[in-house]
Symmetry: C2
Subunit: 302 residues, 2 copies
Protein backbone atom coordinates (compact mmCIF):
# COMPACT_ATOMS: atom_id res chain seq x y z
CA UNK A 1 0.00 0.00 0.00
CA UNK A 2 1.26 3.44 -0.92
CA UNK A 3 1.61 5.82 1.98
CA UNK A 4 -0.61 8.87 2.03
CA UNK A 5 1.45 11.91 1.14
CA UNK A 6 1.32 15.09 3.20
CA UNK A 7 2.98 18.37 2.30
CA UNK A 8 3.92 20.48 5.32
CA UNK A 9 4.89 24.12 4.83
CA UNK A 10 7.18 25.77 7.35
CA UNK A 11 8.79 22.37 8.04
CA UNK A 12 11.82 24.15 9.50
CA UNK A 13 9.65 25.92 12.08
CA UNK A 14 8.59 24.92 15.57
CA UNK A 15 5.13 23.59 14.71
CA UNK A 16 6.12 22.43 11.21
CA UNK A 17 8.91 20.18 12.43
CA UNK A 18 6.76 18.69 15.19
CA UNK A 19 4.12 18.04 12.53
CA UNK A 20 6.68 16.32 10.27
CA UNK A 21 7.71 13.99 13.08
CA UNK A 22 4.12 13.24 14.05
CA UNK A 23 2.97 12.38 10.53
CA UNK A 24 6.11 10.29 9.88
CA UNK A 25 5.42 8.31 13.04
CA UNK A 26 1.88 7.74 11.82
CA UNK A 27 2.83 6.20 8.49
CA UNK A 28 2.61 9.16 6.15
CA UNK A 29 5.06 10.07 3.42
CA UNK A 30 6.04 13.61 4.42
CA UNK A 31 7.32 16.36 2.13
CA UNK A 32 8.55 19.31 4.17
CA UNK A 33 8.81 22.71 2.51
CA UNK A 34 11.56 24.92 3.91
CA UNK A 35 12.89 28.27 2.80
CA UNK A 36 16.46 27.04 2.96
CA UNK A 37 17.74 23.54 3.64
CA UNK A 38 19.91 23.65 6.68
CA UNK A 39 21.11 20.09 7.05
CA UNK A 40 20.17 16.74 5.66
CA UNK A 41 17.38 15.15 7.60
CA UNK A 42 17.98 11.58 6.50
CA UNK A 43 14.74 9.95 7.59
CA UNK A 44 12.78 7.23 5.85
CA UNK A 45 9.66 8.58 4.11
CA UNK A 46 10.81 12.18 4.55
CA UNK A 47 11.73 14.56 1.74
CA UNK A 48 12.76 18.14 2.27
CA UNK A 49 12.22 20.64 -0.51
CA UNK A 50 13.27 24.27 -0.76
CA UNK A 51 10.40 26.61 -1.58
CA UNK A 52 9.96 30.36 -1.26
CA UNK A 53 6.25 30.77 -0.52
CA UNK A 54 6.41 34.46 -1.38
CA UNK A 55 7.36 33.48 -4.95
CA UNK A 56 4.27 32.22 -6.76
CA UNK A 57 6.24 30.13 -9.27
CA UNK A 58 8.26 28.42 -6.57
CA UNK A 59 5.02 27.35 -4.83
CA UNK A 60 3.38 26.29 -8.09
CA UNK A 61 6.37 24.07 -8.93
CA UNK A 62 6.27 22.47 -5.49
CA UNK A 63 2.56 21.59 -5.64
CA UNK A 64 2.88 20.33 -9.20
CA UNK A 65 5.85 18.12 -8.34
CA UNK A 66 4.52 16.77 -5.04
CA UNK A 67 0.76 16.41 -5.72
CA UNK A 68 0.05 15.83 -2.02
CA UNK A 69 -3.00 14.06 -0.59
CA UNK A 70 -2.96 16.55 2.30
CA UNK A 71 -1.50 20.00 2.82
CA UNK A 72 -0.71 21.38 6.26
CA UNK A 73 0.13 25.09 6.03
CA UNK A 74 2.07 25.97 9.18
CA UNK A 75 4.51 28.42 7.55
CA UNK A 76 4.41 32.01 8.69
CA UNK A 77 5.81 34.58 11.06
CA UNK A 78 4.38 34.66 14.58
CA UNK A 79 6.29 37.13 16.72
CA UNK A 80 3.80 39.77 17.89
CA UNK A 81 6.53 42.20 18.92
CA UNK A 82 8.37 41.93 15.60
CA UNK A 83 5.10 42.46 13.72
CA UNK A 84 4.92 46.00 15.14
CA UNK A 85 8.28 46.74 13.51
CA UNK A 86 7.86 44.89 10.21
CA UNK A 87 4.14 44.76 9.44
CA UNK A 88 4.71 44.66 5.66
CA UNK A 89 6.83 41.54 6.02
CA UNK A 90 4.04 39.92 8.08
CA UNK A 91 1.48 40.74 5.38
CA UNK A 92 3.76 39.24 2.73
CA UNK A 93 4.68 36.08 4.61
CA UNK A 94 1.35 35.35 6.32
CA UNK A 95 -1.14 36.59 3.72
CA UNK A 96 0.42 36.70 0.25
CA UNK A 97 2.19 33.35 0.76
CA UNK A 98 -1.15 31.74 1.65
CA UNK A 99 -2.69 33.23 -1.50
CA UNK A 100 0.18 31.78 -3.56
CA UNK A 101 -0.23 28.36 -1.94
CA UNK A 102 -3.98 28.21 -2.58
CA UNK A 103 -3.58 29.61 -6.10
CA UNK A 104 -0.99 26.92 -6.85
CA UNK A 105 -3.43 24.24 -5.63
CA UNK A 106 -6.18 25.74 -7.80
CA UNK A 107 -4.00 25.94 -10.92
CA UNK A 108 -2.53 22.47 -10.52
CA UNK A 109 -6.07 21.21 -9.71
CA UNK A 110 -4.67 19.32 -6.75
CA UNK A 111 -7.49 17.63 -4.86
CA UNK A 112 -5.89 17.08 -1.46
CA UNK A 113 -7.50 18.52 1.63
CA UNK A 114 -5.85 21.64 3.03
CA UNK A 115 -5.54 22.76 6.63
CA UNK A 116 -4.51 26.38 7.15
CA UNK A 117 -3.17 27.19 10.61
CA UNK A 118 -4.60 30.47 11.82
CA UNK A 119 -4.29 31.82 15.33
CA UNK A 120 -6.32 32.39 18.46
CA UNK A 121 -4.94 35.96 18.30
CA UNK A 122 -7.03 36.83 15.22
CA UNK A 123 -9.35 39.75 15.82
CA UNK A 124 -12.96 40.12 14.83
CA UNK A 125 -12.75 42.08 11.54
CA UNK A 126 -15.94 43.99 12.34
CA UNK A 127 -14.03 45.55 15.25
CA UNK A 128 -10.60 47.14 15.50
CA UNK A 129 -7.31 45.24 15.31
CA UNK A 130 -5.08 45.22 18.37
CA UNK A 131 -1.75 44.32 16.75
CA UNK A 132 -0.31 43.70 13.27
CA UNK A 133 0.34 39.96 13.74
CA UNK A 134 -3.31 39.32 14.58
CA UNK A 135 -4.36 41.45 11.62
CA UNK A 136 -2.33 39.34 9.18
CA UNK A 137 -3.66 36.10 10.68
CA UNK A 138 -7.21 37.44 10.34
CA UNK A 139 -6.46 38.17 6.68
CA UNK A 140 -4.98 34.70 6.25
CA UNK A 141 -8.13 33.06 7.60
CA UNK A 142 -10.32 35.28 5.38
CA UNK A 143 -8.20 34.21 2.40
CA UNK A 144 -8.64 30.55 3.36
CA UNK A 145 -12.40 31.00 3.81
CA UNK A 146 -12.60 32.88 0.49
CA UNK A 147 -10.72 30.30 -1.57
CA UNK A 148 -13.02 27.66 -0.13
CA UNK A 149 -16.15 29.71 -0.86
CA UNK A 150 -15.21 31.28 -4.21
CA UNK A 151 -13.00 28.59 -5.75
CA UNK A 152 -14.36 25.52 -3.93
CA UNK A 153 -11.03 24.26 -2.61
CA UNK A 154 -11.28 21.69 0.23
CA UNK A 155 -9.95 24.00 2.94
CA UNK A 156 -10.31 23.89 6.70
CA UNK A 157 -8.92 26.29 9.28
CA UNK A 158 -7.39 25.55 12.70
CA UNK A 159 -6.94 28.35 15.23
CA UNK A 160 -4.57 27.13 17.91
CA UNK A 161 -3.80 29.06 21.02
CA UNK A 162 -0.21 29.49 22.39
CA UNK A 163 1.72 26.38 21.39
CA UNK A 164 4.45 25.15 23.71
CA UNK A 165 6.82 22.21 23.70
CA UNK A 166 10.43 21.14 23.16
CA UNK A 167 12.29 22.66 20.25
CA UNK A 168 13.30 26.13 19.13
CA UNK A 169 10.47 28.57 19.82
CA UNK A 170 10.26 32.26 20.61
CA UNK A 171 7.34 31.68 22.98
CA UNK A 172 7.23 32.70 26.61
CA UNK A 173 7.64 29.19 28.07
CA UNK A 174 10.70 28.50 25.92
CA UNK A 175 12.27 31.81 26.80
CA UNK A 176 11.98 31.09 30.54
CA UNK A 177 13.26 27.51 30.18
CA UNK A 178 16.30 28.70 28.24
CA UNK A 179 17.19 31.14 31.03
CA UNK A 180 16.70 28.50 33.72
CA UNK A 181 18.99 26.06 31.88
CA UNK A 182 21.66 28.78 31.65
CA UNK A 183 21.29 29.68 35.34
CA UNK A 184 21.57 26.00 36.29
CA UNK A 185 24.93 25.93 34.47
CA UNK A 186 26.03 29.00 36.43
CA UNK A 187 25.99 31.06 33.26
CA UNK A 188 25.16 34.71 33.68
CA UNK A 189 21.60 34.91 32.33
CA UNK A 190 19.87 38.22 31.81
CA UNK A 191 16.49 37.83 33.52
CA UNK A 192 13.37 37.70 31.33
CA UNK A 193 11.54 41.03 31.49
CA UNK A 194 7.83 40.60 32.08
CA UNK A 195 5.30 43.37 31.72
CA UNK A 196 2.38 41.90 33.51
CA UNK A 197 2.30 38.64 35.48
CA UNK A 198 -1.50 38.61 35.62
CA UNK A 199 -1.78 38.18 31.83
CA UNK A 200 -3.70 34.98 31.12
CA UNK A 201 -3.05 32.56 28.28
CA UNK A 202 -4.16 29.12 27.21
CA UNK A 203 -0.96 27.07 26.70
CA UNK A 204 -1.30 23.96 24.52
CA UNK A 205 1.39 21.38 23.83
CA UNK A 206 2.36 21.50 20.17
CA UNK A 207 2.27 17.68 20.06
CA UNK A 208 -1.39 17.78 21.07
CA UNK A 209 -1.98 20.40 18.39
CA UNK A 210 -0.49 18.37 15.53
CA UNK A 211 -2.59 15.39 16.61
CA UNK A 212 -5.63 17.68 16.29
CA UNK A 213 -4.42 18.72 12.82
CA UNK A 214 -4.41 15.12 11.63
CA UNK A 215 -7.93 14.56 13.00
CA UNK A 216 -9.17 17.65 11.18
CA UNK A 217 -7.52 16.61 7.89
CA UNK A 218 -9.06 13.15 8.14
CA UNK A 219 -12.48 13.85 9.64
CA UNK A 220 -13.00 17.60 9.56
CA UNK A 221 -15.74 19.39 7.63
CA UNK A 222 -14.67 21.40 4.60
CA UNK A 223 -14.99 25.13 5.27
CA UNK A 224 -15.11 24.68 9.02
CA UNK A 225 -13.04 26.63 11.55
CA UNK A 226 -11.50 24.69 14.46
CA UNK A 227 -10.32 26.68 17.48
CA UNK A 228 -7.91 24.50 19.46
CA UNK A 229 -6.81 24.93 23.06
CA UNK A 230 -6.92 23.27 26.45
CA UNK A 231 -9.72 25.57 27.61
CA UNK A 232 -7.64 26.30 30.71
CA UNK A 233 -6.18 29.77 31.14
CA UNK A 234 -3.07 30.36 33.26
CA UNK A 235 -1.43 33.56 34.39
CA UNK A 236 2.25 34.10 33.57
CA UNK A 237 2.74 34.04 37.37
CA UNK A 238 1.43 30.46 37.31
CA UNK A 239 3.98 29.58 34.60
CA UNK A 240 6.82 30.94 36.73
CA UNK A 241 5.57 29.04 39.79
CA UNK A 242 5.31 25.81 37.77
CA UNK A 243 8.86 26.19 36.47
CA UNK A 244 10.03 26.92 40.02
CA UNK A 245 8.81 23.43 41.00
CA UNK A 246 11.11 21.92 38.34
CA UNK A 247 14.42 23.58 39.27
CA UNK A 248 16.56 24.44 42.27
CA UNK A 249 17.70 27.84 40.96
CA UNK A 250 15.46 30.90 41.24
CA UNK A 251 13.59 31.42 37.97
CA UNK A 252 15.35 34.44 36.45
CA UNK A 253 12.56 36.92 35.78
CA UNK A 254 12.29 40.63 36.29
CA UNK A 255 8.92 42.34 36.47
CA UNK A 256 8.98 45.70 34.78
CA UNK A 257 6.37 48.41 34.59
CA UNK A 258 3.88 47.81 31.83
CA UNK A 259 5.14 50.25 29.23
CA UNK A 260 4.39 48.67 25.92
CA UNK A 261 1.17 46.72 25.67
CA UNK A 262 1.73 44.32 22.79
CA UNK A 263 -1.98 44.16 22.19
CA UNK A 264 -2.50 40.60 23.36
CA UNK A 265 -5.90 40.14 24.94
CA UNK A 266 -5.67 39.04 28.53
CA UNK A 267 -7.81 35.95 28.43
CA UNK A 268 -10.64 37.84 26.76
CA UNK A 269 -12.85 36.05 24.26
CA UNK A 270 -12.38 32.48 25.41
CA UNK A 271 -12.37 29.98 22.59
CA UNK A 272 -15.26 27.78 21.64
CA UNK A 273 -13.77 24.27 21.52
CA UNK A 274 -16.98 22.51 20.45
CA UNK A 275 -15.82 21.71 16.89
CA UNK A 276 -12.52 20.07 17.79
CA UNK A 277 -14.04 18.18 20.74
CA UNK A 278 -16.73 16.83 18.41
CA UNK A 279 -13.91 15.10 16.51
CA UNK A 280 -12.99 13.26 19.72
CA UNK A 281 -9.89 15.31 20.49
CA UNK A 282 -8.69 16.15 23.97
CA UNK A 283 -5.26 17.41 25.00
CA UNK A 284 -2.96 14.68 26.30
CA UNK A 285 0.07 16.45 27.77
CA UNK A 286 -0.35 17.86 31.30
CA UNK A 287 1.05 21.40 31.55
CA UNK A 288 3.88 20.49 33.92
CA UNK A 289 5.01 17.66 31.66
CA UNK A 290 5.20 20.08 28.70
CA UNK A 291 7.28 22.50 30.79
CA UNK A 292 9.52 19.65 31.91
CA UNK A 293 10.11 18.58 28.28
CA UNK A 294 10.92 22.15 27.29
CA UNK A 295 13.40 22.43 30.16
CA UNK A 296 15.00 19.10 29.19
CA UNK A 297 15.38 20.38 25.61
CA UNK A 298 17.32 23.45 26.80
CA UNK A 299 19.31 21.52 29.42
CA UNK A 300 20.53 19.16 26.67
CA UNK A 301 21.04 21.89 24.08
CA UNK A 302 24.55 22.48 25.39
CA UNK B 1 2.16 81.56 -1.17
CA UNK B 2 3.35 78.02 -1.71
CA UNK B 3 0.77 75.71 -3.22
CA UNK B 4 -0.41 72.78 -1.13
CA UNK B 5 1.14 69.62 -2.48
CA UNK B 6 -0.92 66.50 -3.18
CA UNK B 7 0.45 63.12 -4.17
CA UNK B 8 -1.94 61.06 -6.28
CA UNK B 9 -1.25 57.36 -6.83
CA UNK B 10 -2.58 55.67 -9.95
CA UNK B 11 -2.33 59.00 -11.80
CA UNK B 12 -2.41 57.13 -15.09
CA UNK B 13 -5.76 55.56 -14.25
CA UNK B 14 -9.32 56.71 -14.84
CA UNK B 15 -9.99 58.18 -11.39
CA UNK B 16 -6.38 59.18 -10.79
CA UNK B 17 -6.11 61.32 -13.89
CA UNK B 18 -9.47 63.02 -13.23
CA UNK B 19 -8.20 63.72 -9.71
CA UNK B 20 -4.97 65.23 -11.07
CA UNK B 21 -6.93 67.59 -13.32
CA UNK B 22 -9.34 68.55 -10.54
CA UNK B 23 -6.63 69.34 -7.98
CA UNK B 24 -4.57 71.25 -10.58
CA UNK B 25 -7.63 73.36 -11.41
CA UNK B 26 -8.05 74.07 -7.71
CA UNK B 27 -4.58 75.46 -7.15
CA UNK B 28 -2.70 72.44 -5.83
CA UNK B 29 0.76 71.34 -6.79
CA UNK B 30 0.14 67.78 -8.00
CA UNK B 31 2.60 64.90 -8.06
CA UNK B 32 1.18 61.95 -9.98
CA UNK B 33 2.62 58.50 -9.37
CA UNK B 34 2.46 56.20 -12.40
CA UNK B 35 3.89 52.75 -12.98
CA UNK B 36 5.38 53.81 -16.30
CA UNK B 37 5.50 57.28 -17.85
CA UNK B 38 3.71 57.13 -21.15
CA UNK B 39 4.09 60.64 -22.50
CA UNK B 40 5.09 63.98 -21.12
CA UNK B 41 2.21 65.77 -19.52
CA UNK B 42 3.62 69.26 -19.67
CA UNK B 43 1.29 71.09 -17.32
CA UNK B 44 2.14 73.86 -14.88
CA UNK B 45 2.25 72.61 -11.27
CA UNK B 46 2.19 68.99 -12.40
CA UNK B 47 4.98 66.46 -11.90
CA UNK B 48 4.78 62.85 -12.96
CA UNK B 49 6.92 60.29 -11.17
CA UNK B 50 7.45 56.62 -11.88
CA UNK B 51 6.80 54.41 -8.88
CA UNK B 52 6.13 50.70 -8.50
CA UNK B 53 3.82 50.48 -5.48
CA UNK B 54 4.49 46.75 -5.16
CA UNK B 55 8.17 47.60 -4.45
CA UNK B 56 8.49 48.95 -0.91
CA UNK B 57 11.70 50.85 -1.64
CA UNK B 58 10.25 52.56 -4.70
CA UNK B 59 7.33 53.83 -2.59
CA UNK B 60 9.58 54.87 0.27
CA UNK B 61 11.75 56.91 -2.10
CA UNK B 62 8.69 58.63 -3.57
CA UNK B 63 7.25 59.68 -0.21
CA UNK B 64 10.65 60.80 1.03
CA UNK B 65 11.28 62.90 -2.08
CA UNK B 66 7.80 64.42 -2.39
CA UNK B 67 6.78 64.95 1.27
CA UNK B 68 3.18 65.64 0.28
CA UNK B 69 0.62 67.61 2.32
CA UNK B 70 -2.05 65.22 1.10
CA UNK B 71 -2.05 61.72 -0.34
CA UNK B 72 -4.86 60.40 -2.51
CA UNK B 73 -4.47 56.66 -3.05
CA UNK B 74 -6.48 55.77 -6.16
CA UNK B 75 -4.07 53.16 -7.55
CA UNK B 76 -5.33 49.63 -7.85
CA UNK B 77 -6.96 47.06 -10.06
CA UNK B 78 -10.74 47.15 -10.33
CA UNK B 79 -11.95 44.66 -12.91
CA UNK B 80 -14.23 42.20 -11.14
CA UNK B 81 -14.08 39.68 -13.97
CA UNK B 82 -10.28 39.75 -14.16
CA UNK B 83 -10.05 39.32 -10.37
CA UNK B 84 -11.56 35.84 -10.74
CA UNK B 85 -8.67 34.87 -13.00
CA UNK B 86 -5.81 36.64 -11.23
CA UNK B 87 -6.73 36.94 -7.55
CA UNK B 88 -3.09 36.88 -6.41
CA UNK B 89 -2.34 39.92 -8.57
CA UNK B 90 -5.32 41.73 -7.01
CA UNK B 91 -4.06 40.95 -3.50
CA UNK B 92 -0.60 42.26 -4.41
CA UNK B 93 -1.75 45.42 -6.18
CA UNK B 94 -4.69 46.35 -3.95
CA UNK B 95 -3.51 45.16 -0.55
CA UNK B 96 0.27 44.87 -0.41
CA UNK B 97 0.76 48.15 -2.33
CA UNK B 98 -1.42 49.94 0.23
CA UNK B 99 0.66 48.44 3.03
CA UNK B 100 3.84 49.68 1.33
CA UNK B 101 2.38 53.17 0.88
CA UNK B 102 1.31 53.47 4.52
CA UNK B 103 4.58 51.97 5.75
CA UNK B 104 6.52 54.50 3.67
CA UNK B 105 4.48 57.34 5.25
CA UNK B 106 5.16 55.90 8.70
CA UNK B 107 8.90 55.49 8.14
CA UNK B 108 9.36 58.90 6.53
CA UNK B 109 7.16 60.37 9.31
CA UNK B 110 5.20 62.27 6.69
CA UNK B 111 2.34 64.15 8.34
CA UNK B 112 0.01 64.73 5.39
CA UNK B 113 -3.55 63.45 5.52
CA UNK B 114 -4.23 60.30 3.53
CA UNK B 115 -7.38 59.29 1.70
CA UNK B 116 -7.57 55.64 0.66
CA UNK B 117 -10.12 54.87 -2.05
CA UNK B 118 -12.01 51.71 -1.19
CA UNK B 119 -15.09 50.45 -2.97
CA UNK B 120 -18.82 50.06 -2.51
CA UNK B 121 -18.24 46.43 -3.58
CA UNK B 122 -16.44 45.57 -0.33
CA UNK B 123 -18.10 42.79 1.60
CA UNK B 124 -18.85 42.57 5.28
CA UNK B 125 -15.90 40.49 6.60
CA UNK B 126 -18.12 38.77 9.16
CA UNK B 127 -19.97 37.21 6.22
CA UNK B 128 -18.76 35.47 3.08
CA UNK B 129 -17.04 37.19 0.15
CA UNK B 130 -18.82 37.20 -3.21
CA UNK B 131 -15.86 37.88 -5.51
CA UNK B 132 -12.07 38.31 -5.28
CA UNK B 133 -12.02 42.03 -6.19
CA UNK B 134 -14.35 42.88 -3.31
CA UNK B 135 -12.25 40.72 -0.98
CA UNK B 136 -9.07 42.64 -1.81
CA UNK B 137 -10.86 46.00 -1.36
CA UNK B 138 -12.16 44.80 2.01
CA UNK B 139 -8.57 43.93 2.98
CA UNK B 140 -7.38 47.32 1.72
CA UNK B 141 -9.88 49.14 3.92
CA UNK B 142 -8.96 46.96 6.91
CA UNK B 143 -5.31 47.85 6.29
CA UNK B 144 -6.18 51.56 6.16
CA UNK B 145 -8.25 51.31 9.34
CA UNK B 146 -5.46 49.34 11.04
CA UNK B 147 -2.65 51.74 10.18
CA UNK B 148 -4.83 54.55 11.54
CA UNK B 149 -5.64 52.63 14.73
CA UNK B 150 -2.30 50.92 15.41
CA UNK B 151 0.18 53.45 14.02
CA UNK B 152 -1.90 56.64 14.33
CA UNK B 153 -1.56 57.77 10.72
CA UNK B 154 -4.09 60.44 9.64
CA UNK B 155 -6.06 58.14 7.32
CA UNK B 156 -9.59 58.39 5.98
CA UNK B 157 -11.42 56.00 3.67
CA UNK B 158 -13.76 56.77 0.78
CA UNK B 159 -15.99 54.04 -0.65
CA UNK B 160 -17.30 55.23 -3.99
CA UNK B 161 -19.87 53.36 -6.00
CA UNK B 162 -19.55 52.81 -9.80
CA UNK B 163 -17.63 55.78 -11.18
CA UNK B 164 -18.45 56.94 -14.69
CA UNK B 165 -17.26 59.80 -16.89
CA UNK B 166 -15.16 60.66 -19.94
CA UNK B 167 -11.79 58.95 -20.28
CA UNK B 168 -10.53 55.41 -20.59
CA UNK B 169 -12.49 53.13 -18.28
CA UNK B 170 -13.49 49.48 -18.33
CA UNK B 171 -16.88 50.29 -16.78
CA UNK B 172 -20.24 49.39 -18.23
CA UNK B 173 -21.20 52.92 -19.34
CA UNK B 174 -17.88 53.40 -21.16
CA UNK B 175 -18.19 50.05 -22.87
CA UNK B 176 -21.62 50.92 -24.27
CA UNK B 177 -20.56 54.42 -25.36
CA UNK B 178 -17.55 53.02 -27.20
CA UNK B 179 -19.79 50.63 -29.16
CA UNK B 180 -22.30 53.41 -29.97
CA UNK B 181 -19.51 55.66 -31.30
CA UNK B 182 -18.28 52.81 -33.50
CA UNK B 183 -21.80 52.07 -34.78
CA UNK B 184 -22.33 55.77 -35.55
CA UNK B 185 -19.25 55.63 -37.77
CA UNK B 186 -20.70 52.58 -39.52
CA UNK B 187 -17.99 50.39 -38.05
CA UNK B 188 -18.92 46.82 -37.37
CA UNK B 189 -19.27 46.75 -33.60
CA UNK B 190 -19.70 43.49 -31.71
CA UNK B 191 -22.68 44.11 -29.44
CA UNK B 192 -22.06 44.29 -25.68
CA UNK B 193 -23.15 41.06 -24.00
CA UNK B 194 -25.29 41.69 -20.94
CA UNK B 195 -26.21 39.03 -18.45
CA UNK B 196 -29.04 40.69 -16.65
CA UNK B 197 -30.67 44.03 -17.53
CA UNK B 198 -32.46 44.24 -14.19
CA UNK B 199 -29.15 44.54 -12.28
CA UNK B 200 -29.19 47.81 -10.34
CA UNK B 201 -26.23 50.10 -9.75
CA UNK B 202 -25.56 53.56 -8.39
CA UNK B 203 -23.61 55.42 -11.09
CA UNK B 204 -21.65 58.45 -9.92
CA UNK B 205 -19.73 60.88 -12.11
CA UNK B 206 -16.01 60.59 -11.37
CA UNK B 207 -15.77 64.40 -11.34
CA UNK B 208 -18.27 64.51 -8.50
CA UNK B 209 -16.27 61.82 -6.72
CA UNK B 210 -12.94 63.69 -6.87
CA UNK B 211 -14.67 66.82 -5.53
CA UNK B 212 -15.83 64.67 -2.62
CA UNK B 213 -12.25 63.44 -2.15
CA UNK B 214 -10.99 67.02 -1.74
CA UNK B 215 -13.72 67.78 0.79
CA UNK B 216 -12.81 64.69 2.80
CA UNK B 217 -9.08 65.55 2.73
CA UNK B 218 -9.80 69.12 3.91
CA UNK B 219 -12.67 68.63 6.34
CA UNK B 220 -13.02 64.91 6.95
CA UNK B 221 -12.58 63.19 10.29
CA UNK B 222 -9.49 61.03 10.74
CA UNK B 223 -10.40 57.35 10.86
CA UNK B 224 -13.83 57.93 9.31
CA UNK B 225 -15.27 55.94 6.39
CA UNK B 226 -17.12 57.89 3.68
CA UNK B 227 -19.40 55.94 1.34
CA UNK B 228 -20.01 58.07 -1.76
CA UNK B 229 -22.79 57.72 -4.33
CA UNK B 230 -25.82 59.49 -5.76
CA UNK B 231 -28.19 57.39 -3.68
CA UNK B 232 -30.10 56.66 -6.87
CA UNK B 233 -30.00 53.12 -8.28
CA UNK B 234 -30.61 52.47 -11.98
CA UNK B 235 -31.06 49.22 -13.86
CA UNK B 236 -28.75 48.49 -16.78
CA UNK B 237 -31.95 48.67 -18.88
CA UNK B 238 -32.29 52.29 -17.79
CA UNK B 239 -28.68 52.96 -18.92
CA UNK B 240 -29.45 51.53 -22.37
CA UNK B 241 -32.62 53.62 -22.64
CA UNK B 242 -30.75 56.76 -21.60
CA UNK B 243 -28.05 56.17 -24.21
CA UNK B 244 -30.77 55.52 -26.81
CA UNK B 245 -32.01 59.09 -26.23
CA UNK B 246 -28.55 60.42 -27.18
CA UNK B 247 -28.01 58.62 -30.50
CA UNK B 248 -29.85 57.75 -33.72
CA UNK B 249 -28.32 54.27 -34.06
CA UNK B 250 -29.70 51.34 -32.08
CA UNK B 251 -27.60 50.79 -28.95
CA UNK B 252 -25.62 47.63 -29.78
CA UNK B 253 -26.36 45.26 -26.92
CA UNK B 254 -27.14 41.58 -26.77
CA UNK B 255 -28.88 40.06 -23.78
CA UNK B 256 -27.51 36.64 -22.98
CA UNK B 257 -28.60 34.07 -20.46
CA UNK B 258 -27.16 34.67 -17.03
CA UNK B 259 -24.39 32.10 -17.01
CA UNK B 260 -21.67 33.56 -14.89
CA UNK B 261 -22.73 35.66 -11.95
CA UNK B 262 -19.76 37.92 -11.26
CA UNK B 263 -20.84 38.25 -7.67
CA UNK B 264 -21.93 41.86 -7.79
CA UNK B 265 -24.81 42.53 -5.44
CA UNK B 266 -27.85 43.73 -7.28
CA UNK B 267 -28.56 46.91 -5.40
CA UNK B 268 -28.40 45.10 -2.08
CA UNK B 269 -27.05 46.92 0.93
CA UNK B 270 -27.70 50.51 -0.13
CA UNK B 271 -25.04 52.91 1.03
CA UNK B 272 -25.36 55.24 3.98
CA UNK B 273 -24.43 58.66 2.57
CA UNK B 274 -24.77 60.55 5.87
CA UNK B 275 -21.04 61.17 6.37
CA UNK B 276 -20.32 62.68 2.98
CA UNK B 277 -23.52 64.74 2.97
CA UNK B 278 -22.55 66.13 6.37
CA UNK B 279 -19.52 67.68 4.63
CA UNK B 280 -21.89 69.57 2.33
CA UNK B 281 -21.34 67.39 -0.73
CA UNK B 282 -23.99 66.59 -3.30
CA UNK B 283 -23.48 65.20 -6.79
CA UNK B 284 -23.49 67.88 -9.50
CA UNK B 285 -23.59 66.00 -12.81
CA UNK B 286 -27.01 64.73 -13.92
CA UNK B 287 -26.80 61.15 -15.18
CA UNK B 288 -27.66 62.01 -18.79
CA UNK B 289 -24.98 64.69 -18.91
CA UNK B 290 -22.37 62.17 -17.69
CA UNK B 291 -23.45 59.73 -20.42
CA UNK B 292 -23.34 62.51 -23.00
CA UNK B 293 -19.77 63.42 -21.98
CA UNK B 294 -18.70 59.77 -22.16
CA UNK B 295 -20.22 59.49 -25.64
CA UNK B 296 -18.47 62.71 -26.74
CA UNK B 297 -15.16 61.28 -25.48
CA UNK B 298 -15.53 58.16 -27.65
CA UNK B 299 -16.90 60.09 -30.64
CA UNK B 300 -13.77 62.28 -30.58
CA UNK B 301 -11.37 59.46 -29.84
CA UNK B 302 -11.00 58.74 -33.54
Amino acid sequence: MVNRKILITGAGGFTGWHACQYFLNNGYHVVGLVRKKRFNKDLPNYEERECDLTDEFSVYDAIKAVKPDYILHTAGKNDVKESWEKPAEYVTVNVLATVHLLEAVRKVKNNGKILVIGSALEFDPSGLPNQPYGLTKTFQSLVAKSWETLFHLPIMIAKPTNLIGPGPSNGFCSLIAEKIALAEKDCLAEPVLIDDLTQERDFLDVRDAVRAYELILLKGKIGEVYPIGTGCYRTLMNVIDSYQSLTTVPVPVHIKANKHDLGIDKGKGRMDLTNIRALGWHPGYPFLSSLSDILTYYRNKG
